[in-house]
Symmetry: C2
């Protein structure tokens, strides 16, 4: 139950120790966006939000709370798809998804009415990951990778998988373009998204354990050194064929 | 180096034994589509393909080999996006992606000219997974889950991640709709795609080891029993906002 202002690195290190785990150089610590956002005070009371006329109209179109829609618009650069029950936007960070990553579940809220609050993504998840990484190194002496995960929907497939919305100390893309396959032919599937794959497995592990487990220590995957922000995982806007 | 007609279950069980691993009930054996297709004889020589006028025109538009485009059209129900260098289609199985999953890398080809052949997806990957599962049970006495993986591109993110194109003995979707979160509120992100998450981690593991490792044994994830085909992971056509 992370609160605004909590010392997240200390909480994570305590949890790792409680589990009898030890950080090794090259590990990747995956942390759910939800607790990063909470620690950074990104919880907004809907009663503090005054929806604009545009937000109210879009809320009508999509059957959503106008105050939530106002927050979504504030956090995004454009609406990618909308219909009753669906509002897919491009977050100002470039991430395309439902509701600009704004989450209304498992929110701790002072007056006990959980659905009257909304949790925004961290202001800058790559910077959050870098701060977590540095703080963990200061406390533990171990320089690990950090990935901030979120659950994402996809256009043509049901159900969510984890993706990396923030990263530090991880080679997110394994670029094998120009490499040769076993027959000496240039490989045509050659850019592997390692960060998203690690986020997918970590999110699966978080979900497989007790409800509410918001972090996972991923060991044995960091065979590549590197330090790519999650921003580098985004397909450039000019390559987007699905605007 | 799997060939058409090879006994894939026997090869996989031998590889598992060689690695000193033991199958446990509840494990998931992830197998790359490439070796399933090869074993099933899905390799096509491009010199045997005669492109239609439509395939030739589409090849012109997309800067691709007309014979490859003919195979893509034969394997798909509609073109989702096209531009020079890009051809995204809906495979007849319902999977949306580049080239209908047809692969030209790491293809063994009789005359040694690897890029003159193309490998199609298995005719029915869910049936392939079920056959693998049954054969492994007959030989080993262990009833494991089987996932056939492929590397997929996504609209808004760079790099590939693994997805499940065939499955047997795996609860692919973890449906928590109607569940309550920690505050008793109905959860809003509630359908977790376990099969794709397992495929992502298995594909990462395959890639992290020696080039060409086409299978991974995933242990400790099968806390849910179930048996859903990968076809059930597809978003219904009427929900597709990105046609």
């Amino acid at each position: 139950m992370v609160q605004a202002g909590d010392d997240l690195p200390a909480l994570l290190l305590a949890a790792i120790a409680e589990q009898g785990l030890a950080l090794e150089a090259g590990d990747v610590l995956a942390v759910a966006q939800k607790i990063v956002s909470k620690a950074e005070g990104r919880l907004v009371r809907l009663s503090d939000v005054t929806p604009s006329a545009a937000a109210t109209a879009l809320a009508d179109e999509t059957d959503k709370d106008p105050r939530l829609v106002q927050l979504i618009l504030d956090e995004s650069t454009d609406v990618v798809r909308k219909k009753p029950g669906v509002l897919i936007v491009r977050h100002r960070l470039g991430i395309v998804g439902a509701h600009a990553g704004i989450d209304q579940s498992n929110i701790e809220h002072g007056d006990g009415v959980a659905d009257e609050a909304a949790l925004l993504l961290p202001e800058n998840p790559d910077a959050s990951a870098a701060r977590l990484r540095d703080a963990i190194e200061r406390s533990s002496g171990r320089r690990v990778g950090v990935i901030i995960t979120d659950s994402a929907n996809r256009p043509w497939r049901l159900g969510t998988v984890g993706i990396a919305i923030g990263a530090a100390g991880v080679q997110g893309l394994d670029d094998r373009r120009g490499g040769k396959d076993l027959f000496g032919r240039e490989m045509n599937v050659t850019l592997i998204n390692r960060a998203d794959s690690i986020a997918a497995l970590a999110t699966l592990a978080m979900g497989e354990t007790t409800e509410g487990t918001p972090a996972a220590l991923v060991q044995g995957v960091a065979s590549h050194e590197g330090d790519e922000p999650a921003a580098s995982l985004l397909r450039p806007l000019e390559e987007d064929l699905f605007r």
